[in-house]
């Protein structure tokens, strides 16, 4: 399948929530687990998606939606792994929304997907405000960003089902207080799962894969 590029004009208003509900029903009908992956620019969303494809491709059929202001850099990398991928470009926009998600779903082979990974635009603020129809929300916080981010961008942490502490391989070069960070996240969101990973070295990713496989299994059984 070739990479499709959808360039979408701003359509922020309208019933985003209702559209997200419709998207989720459609995903449920196909037993697809949809995961919205959010973070700051450069925190490692694409690396996480590439690692997840490599780690799970024998256990689940994966599809990807790539959201960016511009470029198809990330979609190209996913495409090279032989996975169906849609690039959504949003000039002037700062997050995906449910209409864009619907448009992407219209262009994906839904009958051939178990796990849909959605890479949101790199932004710690706006993506948390717009439901897409996903079942789970995952956020990455990379060590170089600092351990104070839950205080400064609380909504993202409050909304996440999973918080991945990424770039753990850099821990010895940085000042990052992991216990304090975990405490701040749990203070905002006691149910959040927190995993420490390196999408570069692969460290810690097994726990993330297990969590995904567990939820993919639940989708199939329900």
């Amino acid at each position: 399948m070739k990479i499709k590029v959808l360039t979408i004009s701003e359509d922020i208003l309208g019933a985003n929530k209702e559209k997200a509900r419709q998207n989720q029903s459609r995903l449920d009908k196909h037993n697809i687990l949809a995961v919205n992956v959010m973070s700051s620019p450069g925190a490692g969303k694409t690396s996480l998606i590439l690692q997840t494809i490599s780690g799970l491709k024998k256990k689940a059929r994966i599809g990807v939606i790539e959201g960016d202001v511009a470029s198809t850099l990330d979609a190209n990398k996913v495409h090279e792994l032989g996975v169906p991928v849609i690039q959504i470009n949003i000039p002037g926009g700062c997050h995906l929304d449910a209409n864009m998600m619907e448009n992407a779903l219209n262009n994906l082979p839904l009958e051939d997907i178990d796990l849909l990974l959605i890479e949101n635009v790199g932004n710690l603020i706006c993506p948390a405000e717009f439901a897409l129809g996903e079942h789970k929300r995952v956020m990455l916080l990379s060590l170089p960003e600092g351990d104070d981010k839950p205080y400064k961008y609380p909504l993202m942490f409050t909304e996440a089902d999973v918080v991945l502490i990424n770039k753990i391989d850099l821990l010895s070069y940085l000042e990052f207080n992991i216990p304090a960070f975990r405490e701040a996240v749990i203070g905002l969101n006691p149910k959040a799962k927190i995993f420490q990973v390196s999408c570069k070295t692969g460290e810690g990713l097994e726990d993330w894969f297990s969590w995904l496989l567990d939820d993919i299994g639940k989708m199939k059984r329900e």
Copy 2:
């Protein structure tokens, strides 16, 4: 002076550009050089501001505006250095705008400031779209974010007068192609000045200080 916290509701519409022009006239009248500092979350805006205060406090009178979704963490750090600072909190917002800037100017001792450093909300997208009345725009890109960011967030790079490559002390631990990054920035914005710095070790900051002092001098002479 105590830290003031202005909590501002969304008022995105309206004549932002006209208001920015008014803010700039007001700054000009006081010979204040205003610099809008933008970056992703955790790229080092606050560290840059703290280093700049330490480096220039004997040569210029500095004031600071701190923009954040939530918290006064950054304003507290500035306040400890004895510099007038206003914290602007924008729940649900993702950038500063000219109305917020006016509100902050109303609360700062303008007659006692030569250099006004404005820390925008951590976000590589929206802040570039809203003029505040600043004279110069500075963006930080920290090495861990990756060298592909000019392709993915072009507006921020196009709008910047100065691009600071921060966290240069981490270069040996990361894959970041500095010549390729510089070429991408210059491709978007041939006039951009690019400095390589570490706001942690202080490396390279002298060039940044000289650039600021030069512009502060121009404000006084004009």
